[in-house]
């Protein structure tokens, strides 16, 4: 029954023809008409559909990538909590909160970054779910803010003339406190319900710095939440989340909505 509804949603034309056919077949003995009855019904979908409801609530979870990396990467500990709240059929209020402690060991520099961040924004679900599925393929925006400190552990002097030979890395231990940065993130993500109210999700993020309080005689080469910085203020990131959906209330799906969607296609 509901499968039929799905078909109806997909294309309007076949529904009409089915309806016509049944009407022309109206002469056929009653028994046959009864057999055909279910096919007639899609003419007005709101009649057959056992009222479809969307569930609204809060989804809370954790970034599995940061969590697992904390175990296998001795230079990294991090935690990110993720959450979203459904605003309407397609929009979600979304946020991430995290803390990172990362030592970056580069060719010429070794430094430790510690700090926390918060990202707030929204997701737009562009995926049209069938039946009672609650999957999400979304695009969204976040505003990110991080407060952190950096410690330069060792560094090397670049000398294009190596007459005296390459000097070993110099120990620094210099600390840069009270650093902040803010940025905008474009998020492309998906979440799939694996069972009950548990969702697995993946998101890819492109970041661009808005503000960046840099230390004297050093740079914010890594910003918690933003990740590694590149020359042009850009960054990339991703997360791999597992979330639990806490339903709060249900809303009926208004048929008008469905029609709109059909038109769009």
């Amino acid at each position: 029954m509901s499968l039929l509804f799905a078909n109806a949603q997909e294309t309007q034309a076949p529904v009409k023809t089915t309806a016509k056919d049944t009407i022309s077949k109206g002469v056929i003995p009653k028994k046959a008409a009864v057999a055909n009855q279910p096919t007639i019904v899609p003419k007005k979908d709101s009649i057959i559909v056992p009222v479809k409801t969307d569930r609204y609530g809060i989804r809370l979870g954790i970034d599995l990538f940061k969590l697992s990396r904390s175990f296998y990467d001795k230079d990294y500990t991090g935690l990110e909590l993720v959450g979203d709240y459904r605003l309407d059929k397609k929009h979600y209020l979304a946020a991430e909160v995290g803390n990172e402690n990362k030592t970056t060991d580069d060719e010429r520099l070794n430094f430790t970054t510690k700090g926390s961040y918060v990202k707030v924004g929204f997701d737009y679900n562009g995926y049209e779910n069938w039946l009672d599925m609650e999957n999400i393929i979304s695009i969204g925006l976040r505003y990110g803010f991080s407060t952190f400190n950096q410690e330069l552990n060792t560094y090397k002097i670049y000398n294009s003339n190596n007459y005296f030979g390459e000097t070993p890395p110099l120990a620094s231990g210099q600390k840069f406190n009270g650093l902040t940065a803010s940025w905008i993130e474009v998020v492309a993500g998906m979440k799939a319900k694996v069972f009950n109210n548990v969702f697995m999700g993946f998101s890819l993020r492109f970041n661009r710095l808005i503000s960046n309080k840099e230390p004297d005689n050093f740079e914010n080469l890594y910003i918690p939440g933003f990740n590694r910085t590149y020359n042009g203020d850009f960054g990339v990131g991703f997360n791999y989340s597992i979330t639990y959906f806490v339903p709060i209330f249900k809303k009926k799906v208004v048929p008008v909505d469905t029609k709109k969607v059909t038109k769009k296609k």
Binding site: R108, Y155, N161, Y163, F164, A188, Y230, V236
Partner: protein
């Protein structure tokens, strides 16, 4: 939805163009060398070419400084590195290196440079660089190890005590 996907693609490509900061660009100004220009003592505004000058740092045995691919300098300018892990570098300036001609004998002068260093952050790929400031009261000590031969340098003068790039002369030697 299509528009957003297209937007993401454009974003992806714009990222690929700005990645390249793992290799220190040769054009980046990193640790500078001390730039020396030689002038004619009798006409102090005219640069004068040295002949077969070899410059060897104290403690480097016979390993000479290479400038423009050669250890024998015949132009009117030369750049020499200063030690980044010390505040003093001593160089032997050997004119007419390897010469057997008595008219132009081998002549060695010694200059000890005194300076302070400052390590400045450049970039992720380059790390830091060292800039130098020649000691304001005692920038160099000029001496001659061989008494019988007089010093070939007749006047040594600091032109720029701050050594932060190689575009300017830091030391002028008149001979």
């Amino acid at each position: 939805m299509k528009k957003t996907i297209l937007f993401l693609f454009i974003l992806c490509f714009s990222f690929s163009s700005c990645e390249k900061d793992d290799i220190c660009d040769e054009n980046t100004i990193t640790t500078p060398r001390l730039v020396i220009t030689f002038y004619d003592y009798n006409n102090s505004s005219v640069e004068k070419n040295v002949t077969n000058l070899t410059i060897i740092a104290d403690g480097m045995e016979e390993k000479a400084v290479t400038f423009n691919g050669s250890t024998l300098i015949n132009g009117s300018t030369v750049s020499i590195p200063l030690k980044i892990d010390a505040e003093m570098t001593t160089y032997r300036f050997i004119l007419n290196f390897g010469s057997t001609n008595t008219a132009a004998p081998v002549n060695e002068d010694i200059i000890q440079f005194n300076y302070s260093t400052e390590n400045i952050f450049v970039s992720r790929a380059c790390g830091f660089k060292t800039n130098y400031t020649l000691n304001p009261t005692n920038p160099f000590v000029y001496s001659d190890p061989s008494v019988p031969l007089s010093k070939w340098m007749r006047l040594v003068e600091v032109k720029n005590s701050i050594i932060a790039n190689e575009n300017e002369t830091h030391l002028a030697i008149y001979f």
